[in-house]
Amino acid sequence: MNQSQIARVFKSPVIDQVGVVERAKRFTTRSIKSEAKMQGLEMVLSMIDLTTLEGMDTEGKVKQLCYKAQHLHDSIDGLPTVAAICVYPNFVGLAKRCLAGSGINVASVATAFPSGNSSLEIKLADVSMAVSEGADEIDMVISRGRFHRGEYNFVFDEIAAVKAACGEARLKTILETGELGSLDKVRLASDIAIAAGADFIKTSTGKIQPAATMPVTLVMLEAIRDHFQKTGLMVGMKPAGGISKSKLALHYLIMVKETLGDAWLDPKWFRFGASSLANDVLMQIEKQRTGAYQAANYFAID
């Protein structure tokens, strides 16, 4: 089969870029105040995958992040915890021990993150290592090079193989939309990932600019919606990278609600991949509570 024939197998619709951008922009015009805002902010907190994916990560940094995940800001009562910690595979065991009994998941990137340039054997070994250490969620990257060469079967098979290696762990498939080029490609990659069995589709690694944007996320949400309408099966969504302000996070929640509905407004089906979003949300919550604008140095570093 050639490229366009395969694209047709996945029945990916053509994306109207202008329409998507305009639609995404309209979500940012909703005004959310007082009680609804507080509710939204707490929901954002509960959906965060608190992330550290740096070459310079240390055990100490991971421990600190795990502590932060459980104690976001102890002076405020009744705050939710974040949904998960996201680390490299070699820190999974440590994170798992630090978070024991907290109910917070440990997610691990795998499959030669962030480039995904390695053999299938090595990628599967990477996944198995993370899973055997106790990872609850696996964030894989697709092979963008193969995708651009039109080898969609390869991309599909790879995701399916990783899914099989995940066992009980939930699989998030990173499309790295900043490298895909067009919204049509984003839609096609989403459809492939969903068809291959991904539990979540995720925008970016956070290593490439642009990372998550609202139009790209909207296209992916629509792929999830179409799949749900066809099959009745839910798939999760995780925008990652570049979402560091609570206002923007609230815009994303509105987009999820208006595209997919209330069922997705749950950490099981929607996540934010972010490292600095949590503190901004906490500062907003504290502002709502006290009436005074907050300063970053009153909050734990993340």
Binding site: G291, A292, Y293, Q294, A295, A296
Partner: protein
């Protein structure tokens, strides 16, 4: 037609009026609230001037905070160069300032004096940038084996309410000592005479002053006082010529975060109004205990 043009050349042309916008983060935005007010002098309106809201305060404090570390890291010598550069640019624009001060109701000769004094004041504090530390720092006698010394460090972000009656010199007399030591600031311009403050912002924008180091708002101090004095990210407040009630309110709110509040009732044109103690007002003393070898009869070994 031609004839009337010849007769009254000037009056036929529509005057292009200048929009006086605020100065935040090196840019000239309008207020986010889209409100304006019209200061009136001798029965004539000065024009539409932005009426800043609490969110403008918030935005400008964010700008000031993010600019502060880099500004304080610059060498004292470089800060001196930049302050001197502001004076140079102000000198080049003195005619424009003269026109505006007169429009704001000042007599021509006192306006001229105010401008030359403003330029001189900038030069004065440019000179102090790399000298105040020597004057106010000390090596302290201690009884233990320590080299003990105290130096000044900038407090951080300073919110200044500029003089109502001395629109240019009063403004500059506060800004210059505040930024000389590495603070950044947000300044609320004189409510009645805001034009020269905004034109001064244009001078700043072309004087190598990094964006965010000085931010200038126009509006009503009564409306904004609670928001800047309770703001956790504002480290000190300077008030000039406010009433007793307002000063008390500001001090009370500032006490929530034990924020420093300096109240001035200066005659800024007086020679004594320029002094290095204004730099000291916005610095904190840091004392370091540096261990040294045992001091013996032959003296200390450092």
């Amino acid at each position: 037609m031609t004839e009337s043009n010849e007769n009254s050349g000037k009056s036929d042309r529509l005057e292009v009026l200048k929009t006086y916008k605020m100065y935040i983060d090196g840019k000239f935005p309008r207020t986010e609230s889209a409100r304006y007010y019209q200061p009136v002098v001798n029965g004539t309106s000065l024009g539409n001037v932005c009426l800043a809201s609490r969110k403008d305060v918030r935005n400008s404090v964010v700008a000031a905070r993010s600019a502060q570390a880099a500004w304080a890291r610059r060498t004292a010598y470089n800060r001196a160069q930049i302050l001197y550069r502001i004076a140079e640019m102000l000198e080049g624009r003195s005619q424009q300032f003269l026109d505006e001060l007169i429009r704001q109701g000042m007599e021509a000769d006192s306006a001229e004096t105010q401008i030359t004094q403003s330029i001189d004041r900038l030069i004065y504090y440019a000179g102090w940038c790399d000298k105040y530390q020597q004057v106010f720092s000390s090596v302290n006698p201690v009884a233990s084996s320590h080299f003990n010394f105290s130096t000044l460090e900038p407090v951080g972000v300073v919110f200044a309410v500029a003089s109502r009656d001395c629109p240019l010199l009063g403004l500059i007399s506060l800004i210059a000592p505040v930024i000389a030591s590495g603070n950044t600031c947000v300044v609320l311009a004189s409510e009645n005479s805001p034009l020269s403050a905004i034109t001064f912002a244009e001078v700043l924008a072309t004087s190598d002053v990094p964006g965010g180091v000085v931010n200038i708002l126009t509006g009503r101090v009564e409306e904004l006082s609670e928001h800047f004095s309770r703001h956790l990210d504002v480290n000190a407040i300077a008030c000039d010529g406010l009433g007793v009630d307002l000063n008390t309110t500001i001090k009370e709110f500032a006490s929530e975060t034990i924020k420093r509040v300096k109240i001035y009732h200066q005659e800024w044109s007086a020679e004594a109004a320029a002094n290095p103690y204004l730099i000291q007002d916005f610095c904190e003393v840091k004392t370091t205990w540096h261990p040294i070898e045992q001091i013996t009869e032959s003296g200390a070994s450092y």
